[in-house]
């Protein structure tokens, strides 16, 4: 039940993009087509899960015991940056097809605040064990994927619409994202987060 609450809470109620405003750059940047949106979501799922596991372990067994939590920001970003490089190298060797699909998105992920954001949110929850942290990270990544794909689908339609000149491109996309966020507000109260 506890896990169910975490999953529903992360995907729908406090959706990482539409409720917590994390990962807006890829949300607006690579959501032009459904295919690229899915590719980006896959890469985020992959890196977010690994990054959360590693940063959770670092926080729990290095930063807190030695009383150096002020190094959190600097150590997390270094871990994430090197992790992304590592994932890229391993993926290239082990699974070329997966690398083909996700490769171009990986370098973009270092500065994707969703990864760092979820890592920080996870370590801020005192009652989380490692399994809960993993479930939380995966659910957030699914929430990201859901928002991305929905938005990409909407934007493909937007291209065919007759939008007033000043609103074309980013402004109308932001308004659409706002309405989508409003729709997600309907999930409020589904579970207590």
């Amino acid at each position: 039940m506890e896990y169910f609450v975490i999953i529903i809470g992360a995907i729908f109620v406090s959706n990482i993009v539409l409720h917590q405003y994390l990962g807006i750059c890829p949300f607006l940047g690579v959501s032009g087509k459904v295919n690229t949106a899915i590719g980006m979501s896959g890469a985020v799922l992959f890196v977010m899960t690994i990054a959360t596991i590693v940063t959770w372990i670092i926080q729990k067994y290095v930063l807190v015991p030695y009383g150096i939590t002020f190094l959190q920001t600097i150590s997390f970003i270094l871990v994430i940056a090197s992790l992304v490089q590592l994932v890229e190298i391993i993926l290239k060797k082990v699974s070329p097809p997966l690398y083909q699909a996700l490769g171009i998105f990986l370098p973009l992920i270092t500065t994707n605040c969703a990864i760092m954001g979820v890592a920080l949110l996870t370590v801020a929850k005192p009652d989380f064990n490692l399994l809960k942290a993993v479930v939380f990270a995966i659910s957030n990544a699914i929430g990201f994927a859901l928002a991305m794909t929905l938005f990409a689908g909407l934007r493909e339609h937007l291209d065919l619409m007759d939008v007033p000149k000043g609103m074309r491109g980013v402004p109308i996309a932001l308004v659409v994202a706002g309405i989508l966020a409003m729709a997600f507000m309907g999930f409020n109260g589904l579970v207590k987060v």
């Binding site: 539409l18 409720h19 917590q20 405003y21 994390l22 990962g23 807006i24 750059c25 607006l28 002020f70 190094l71 959190q72 920001t73 600097i74 997390f76 970003i77 270094l78 940056a81 090197s82 270092t110 500065t111 994707n112 605040c113 760092m116 954001g117 920080l120 949110l121 801020a124 000043g166 609103m167 980013v170 402004p171 109308i172 996309a173 932001l174 308004v175 994202a177 706002g178 309405i179 966020a181 409003m182 997600f184 507000m185």
Partner: protein
């Protein structure tokens, strides 16, 4: 380069939020009131100016291959300073901004200026550029925060001028997206 033009470009012509669309996560997240937007903007300005200075000074010492990680470490150090100072002196603002203070590290605006400007231009230009871009960012965040606060709570900088509640949705997530969308559209029209 003309330093005056270099300084003022961040406000309208190359505004980081409205034109370059950089650093949108903090822009949307912390602008539920004008003061929060202003605080976030000033914190980012500090990090931007300091990292521009350091990157510019040591650019010839950094090997080209590891320049991005080095820049990130420099930026992260200044973010940690901001975090500690703000927690000590402005605890209310610190808790209002929450995880978006450490997330200045991954703000693409800061890394973008370090990589695209400070590592190439002269020292004075880099400082002026950091200051101009940072204040432009602050201007955008304060404007967005002010509009959302006026519509959502009927107040400005915490000073209430309408009795009763505002349109609550503008303080919540959807309002952030919609107000930013319309502000960009209006700015395009003005230009």
């Amino acid at each position: 380069m003309n330093q005056v033009a270099n300084f003022t470009k961040g406000f309208i012509k190359e505004n980081p939020v409205f034109v370059l669309l950089l650093g949108l996560c903090p822009t949307l997240a912390v602008t539920s009131s004008a003061f929060n937007g202003f605080g976030m903007g000033m914190a980012t300005t500090f990090v931007l100016v300091c990292s521009n200075i350091v990157v510019n000074l040591i650019r010839s010492l950094i090997p080209n291959k590891v320049r991005i990680p080095s820049f990130i470490v420099i930026i992260a150090s200044f973010v940690t300073i901001v975090e500690m100072v703000m927690e000590g002196f402005l605890p209310d603002l610190f808790s209002a901004l929450g995880i978006f203070i450490p997330l200045i590290v991954v703000n693409c605006l800061v890394l973008g200026r370090a990589e695209g400007f400070a590592s190439k231009q002269s020292f004075v230009s880099s400082v002026v550029d950091g200051l101009g871009m940072g204040l432009g960012f602050t201007f955008a965040l304060t404007l967005l925060g002010a509009v959302r606060e006026i519509l959502g709570a009927g107040s400005i900088f915490g000073y209430k001028f309408i009795a009763g509640d505002g349109i609550l949705v503008f303080i919540l997530a959807p309002g952030a997206f919609i107000v930013l969308g319309y502000l960009i559209a209006i700015l395009r029209r003005v230009k």
